[in-house]
């Protein structure tokens, strides 16, 4: 594996399998009474979050703590960053403090790559702008493999605002690497014009796609996009591209419903759909901790002969 995890294009199929297998062995830790192993004792993990994301930050924090690492949360409000400190100077500060790994969430695409120029530790991209969110993709791959037994040949639709979605990019790249058949579905204004070059299909007809799926993956719609003339109304979006009760019935037996959260119930996903048995949205959250443990463990190399449990 590379020294950093910035993009799903940085990992090959063997890397992904290794990450998912490692996560498998860590998941059991979360069900113990004492949810902790000493693998990263004495190592320091910094969560550098330039965007509010309580869910992702907590997931990384729990993952690092369960590996016995020291965790520092560096959020932008109330810190030197809100006083105008640059990413570079913040990075140099973290470097001087001896961060072994930096988990970064940033509103600018490419910021994690820039960070690697200034810190010696490992950089994990926890979501950058409209670029990528690789740990989300890995936990999604983990969840699909866990529930369906394989990734190769799976038929997956990723539905919604692909243009602005870092989740859609990472997940598409990861699924294609693992041999899945991906269809991007959404209003044509929200599908990048050149997306088919990613090795995916593109469709604007969700009803034609749903009956053939193993996984229906819904993206969060940012209703503020509407103001930029991408689609006429939330109501029309929900009618044309939402996963409604009617469309759930068109899904094949055993197909999964997934969503990276947070959901807009009643917009991209019907009010009760998330609570159906086919929905594995809560499993995604649980698996997120195991995936992030696996990544920290693999990247930081679990020193001193400490083995994964």
């Amino acid at each position: 594996m590379n020294r950093h995890l910035l993009s799903m294009l940085d990992v090959d199929a063997d890397d992904i399998t290794r990450i998912l297998d490692t996560a498998e062995s860590f998941r059991e830790v979360g069900s113990r009474v004492i949810k902790k192993v000493p693998a990263l004792r004495g190592r320091t993990v910094v969560n550098l979050f330039y965007e509010n994301s309580t869910r992702t930050r907590i997931s990384f924090e729990l993952a690092a703590k369960r590996l016995s690492a020291d965790v520092i949360n560096f959020t932008t409000s109330g810190s030197s960053v809100s006083k105008g400190e640059s990413l570079k100077d913040t990075a140099l500060t973290l470097q001087a403090m001896g961060a072994d790994a930096v988990v970064i969430r940033h509103s600018s695409s490419g910021a994690p790559l820039h960070l690697t120029r200034w810190v010696h530790g490992h950089v994990l991209n926890a979501g950058d702008g409209t670029h990528e969110h690789p740990t989300q993709a890995l936990l999604d791959l983990y969840t699909m493999r866990e529930k369906l037994g394989r990734l190769d040949g799976l038929r997956v639709a990723i539905v919604g605002d692909v243009l602005h979605s870092r989740v859609a990019r990472s997940l598409s790249f990861g699924l294609v690497t693992m041999g899945a058949e991906v269809t991007l579905v959404g209003p044509p204004t929200l599908i990048p014009p050149d997306a088919s070059a990613w090795g995916v299909d593109v469709s604007y007809d969700i009803d034609g796609v749903v009956p053939k799926l193993d996984v229906c993956y819904m993206l969060r719609v940012q209703t503020e996009r509407q103001r930029l003339e991408y689609f006429p109304s939330v109501r029309e979006y929900a009618r044309l591209f939402g996963l409604t009760d009617r469309r759930v019935e068109m899904l094949p037996e055993g197909a999964l419903i997934m969503h990276p959260g947070p959901m807009n119930r009643g917009v991209e996903i019907g009010s009760d759909v998330a609570d159906l048995p086919q929905s594995v949205i809560e499993d995604q959250v649980t698996n997120g901790i195991a995936i992030r443990m696996a990544l920290l463990y693999l990247l930081l190399g679990g020193t001193g002969g400490e083995e994964a449990p």
């Binding site: 294009l9 640059s86 990413l87 570079k88 940033h106 600018s108 695409s109 490419g110 910021a111 790559l113 820039h114 950058d128 702008g129 409209t130 670029h131 990528e132 870092r166 990019r169 990048p192 014009p193 050149d194 997306a195 070059a197 990613w198």
Partner: protein
Amino acid sequence: MTTDAPTAIVLRGGRLVDPRAGRDEVADVRIADGRISAVGVDVDRAGAQVLDVDGAVVTPGLVDLHAHLREPGYEHKETIATGSRAAAVGGYTAVAAMANTMPVADHAAIVHEIRDLASAAGLCEVFPVGAITKGLAGESLAEIGEMVEAGVRVFSDDGNPVPTARLLRNALTYAKAFGVEVVIADHAEDPSLVEGGQMHEGLASASLGLAGRPAEAEEIAVARDLAVTRMTGGRLHLCHLSTARSVELVRRAKDEGVRVTAEVTPHHLVFTDDDLRTYDTNLKMNPPVRSADDRDALRAGLVDGAIDAVATDHAPHAVEEKESEFDRSPPGTIGLETALAVIVTELVAPGAFDLSTAIVRLSCAPAQILGAHDHGGPVEPGRPAHLAVFDPGATWSVEPPFASRARNSAFIGRELRGRVIHTFLAGRATVSEGKATG
């Protein structure tokens, strides 16, 4: 300019490439009292300092139609002195300074101030470009007549496209009033298609998660500008063309007799959107570097003359500005110190065109567009001695520091061929043995 009377100098044994005189041959050039005093084989060397330039190329000094010298107002990025030094090191003797300073060069007083600062630096003749609209706001015309009286010949709101066809029509029409050729230069881009855009729209932008600036944004504006120029009979110059279809639109308009000229930057001739996969902010440009097909069409346009001139769009920025996140970084690269070498390396060495054509694009044509009639040759007795001497075979690696105050060069790390040895401004060396004298 300095008042020191330069001694006579003879450049001996160089290859004189002087397209305006139709020369490409070995010839000596004698300079005295700031002017060319003799050209030919074995010119009189009596009382002159002799510089042996055997193996080097002697040409009219280069002329840049498009540089941001940042002064007044943004001296932390560049000053007229440091920008002039960068120009001299690159072989330039004349540079057009864009109007987006603070205050904006939209009235004669600023024009005089810029010229005074350039004279004090004495490294390069600076031709201030006047703003088309007051404060570059795109609303009402600046006092173009007063600036023409102050010697300005090119007007541009560069950075901002002229927002409406009506305003462009008025600018092109009004500029006909002065009995001298006044050029309206537009940064052609449809703003509504590029809002928030960070790079060329295509596969790379889709994968990198950076908002796109589609090629069509430029082509729409180029088509509009050409139509309005045809309608008014005005004189248009198009800044930094970046797409294949733009080149084709200009080529066709020229065939129809529309009074248009166009420029291309060295970076648009070299880089493509794929190069942005490292999120290198030094490759963030406006307009953006585009596809390989676009780049190749720009080269072809420069070769066949659809594009008249190479212009640097020298855009210095402070280190911390370029070290920011990609979407927060200002666009642009410095270019004065590398333009000649990029053209030699990328076009002359592979045989796309000869050195004489390169000098037309880098010196003669831009001098004419700019109304810089002392520059661009011919290198003949009595003419001001604005000259560049360079070694066309010398290879070097682009690395900071630069003569410019800035170091945001897209070319850092590249091996280039062609290095300036001497530059003469009115007979005085501004660069000697590769080093700026001031």
